[in-house]
């Protein structure tokens, strides 16, 4: 049996412990009890580092004590869409999407351009206009879409999306719900994890 894509364990003095297991190839919606648990899970996956009271395994490999090269190898297989989104303000949408691949020279830019155009069109944006916009000129959905397309460009085996609908109105949330289908269409074997707060903890 294959190891799960993600296994996370958070032990806490105050508050319930958090245990998460996500099988490979699955799409899972995770509702965590509080903001601390959510933030720590996302940060642990994002950095592939854990604190003393946490354990994290990615693709069956514990991240504690990983070397630099192994950690970099893990980073290549993981994409995280955080709430901050991490867009660079002086780059337009296309430059933001292609920046990591262009910098590292890991994936052909033509392929990324095709993915970005097709996915943007499928998600209801006009690729020509949308890809030329700066983050400051975008609405919240377009900013999220840019960050999502950058994640798609990475072709990650494990994608984590933190607070998909946060900051979006109803119509934008409905469009963002199609992210799953777009990811699945490009990564049929990939693992997709949506992380949110439990309903009662939402502000």
């Amino acid at each position: 049996m294959r190891a799960p894509a993600l296994r996370y364990d958070l032990r806490r003095d105050a508050g319930d412990p958090v245990r998460v297991t996500v099988p490979r190839g699955a799409t899972q919606r995770l509702r965590l009890p509080d903001n601390e648990a959510k933030t720590r899970l996302v940060a642990a996956v994002l950095t592939a580092r854990v604190a003393a009271n946490e354990d994290l395994e990615l693709f069956g490999k514990p991240v504690r004590g990983l070397g630099r090269a192994e950690r970099a190898g893990l980073h290549d297989r993981i994409g995280v869409l955080t709430q901050a989104m991490g867009l660079i303000s002086n780059l337009n949408a296309w430059e933001n999407i292609s920046l990591p691949a262009a910098y590292h020279g890991t994936r052909p830019i033509a392929r990324i351009a095709k993915t970005a155009r097709d996915a943007a069109a499928a998600l209801g944006a006009d690729p020509q206009r949308f890809l030329a916009r700066l983050p400051d000129e975008m609405d919240p959905f377009e900013r999220k879409l840019t960050a999502f397309l950058r994640l798609l460009a990475k072709e990650p085996a494990l994608a984590v999306i933190d607070g998909l609908a946060e900051g979006l109105d109803r119509e934008q949330s409905a469009r963002a719900a199609r992210f799953e289908a777009e990811y699945r269409a490009r990564q049929p074997e990939g693992t997709l994890l949506f992380v949110d707060l439990a309903e009662e903890d939402l502000p």
């Binding site: 950095t47 991490g86 867009l87 660079i88 262009a102 910098y103």
Partner: protein, 277 residues
């Protein structure tokens, strides 16, 4: 004082990083950022300096001939020394500080404050390679180019406009200029402008990357510090460079006393002279 020393140390660290990490310019996004910097600093600034630079040359010639009652030869000499060696690089440096220095420090401070540097790090992008290296290289190159442009316009403008205000023909000024000009004048000003560009870029990058406060209020403070420190750095380099190359500080107000031993031995008799009598 401690802050000033820390700034100098930070600037030197950035210089070292720039020097060692220059091959990062081979990466396409870094190269693109470099070209964008050259365009912004050099090309977009060039239109604004046309009138000012040509007026500057005419002013210097007219001022020298009318007020100092100089002949054409002295006026051209002053045009050469003042415009080519001093005012050209200084004027370009001031344009770069006011246009690019402010923009770079504000942009980097904003990126630092809003967490974009962390975002770059998470993408596996070495933030200094992506942000500092192309800016320093671009500003250096653009400052040198802008200096040449200002010098060209000032000299040409001076020669074209001067016959309207003084008793000297264009041909006369032109002939005298090419008799007196030497390659060293250009080499001197280019080397100096490269140093100015480097100092401005490093200072502005340093202040942008280290804003005094991690709130939006930190941005204008970082810009103010960057502009002030850049101006001080440029004037210091100008004085030290003039002293080292020509042995003359502050346009000749303080004469250098260092001279070659052979010459000293013949003029004042000292055997191992480092100072003339």
């Amino acid at each position: 004082m401690i802050r000033a020393l820390r700034e100098v140390e930070g600037g030197l660290r950035l210089l070292m990083h720039f020097w060692l990490r220059m091959p990062a310019l081979r990466r396409p996004p870094v190269r693109e950022s470099f070209l964008r910097q050259v365009y912004f600093t050099g090309v977009t600034a060039s239109t604004g300096v046309v009138l000012r630079a040509s007026g500057l040359g005419a002013l210097i010639i007219a001022f020298t001939m009318q007020i100092l009652d100089a002949d054409t030869s002295l006026a051209v000499k002053i045009l050469l020394w003042v415009v080519l060696r001093e005012v050209g690089p200084l004027a370009a440096a001031m344009v770069v500080i006011l246009r690019t220095g402010t923009a770079v420090s504000a942009e980097l401070a904003m990126m630092r404050i809003t967490g974009q540097m962390d975002a770059l790090r998470r993408m596996g992008i070495e933030s200094y390679d992506y942000l500092v290296v192309p800016r320093v290289a671009g500003i250096m190159l653009a400052t040198a180019a802008l200096t040449c442009y200002i010098q060209f316009l000032a000299v040409l403008g001076g020669m074209i406009l001067s016959p309207f205000v003084i008793q000297a023909s264009f041909t006369e000024l032109y002939t005298r200029f090419f008799e007196l000009v030497a390659p060293i004048d250009f080499v001197y000003s280019i080397v100096k402008s490269l140093m100015f560009g480097c100092a401005i870029a490093l200072t502005c990058c340093y202040h942008g990357l280290n804003p005094p406060a991690f709130t939006l209020n930190g941005v204008p403070q970082a810009v103010t510090r960057a502009v002030t420190a850049s101006a001080v750095a440029v004037l210091t380099i100008n004085a030290v460079f003039a002293y080292l190359v020509f042995g003359v500080l502050f346009f000749g107000l303080v004469k250098a006393v260092v001279c070659a031993p052979r010459r000293c031995a013949t003029t004042c008799g000292a055997t191992r002279a480092t100072r003339c009598a």
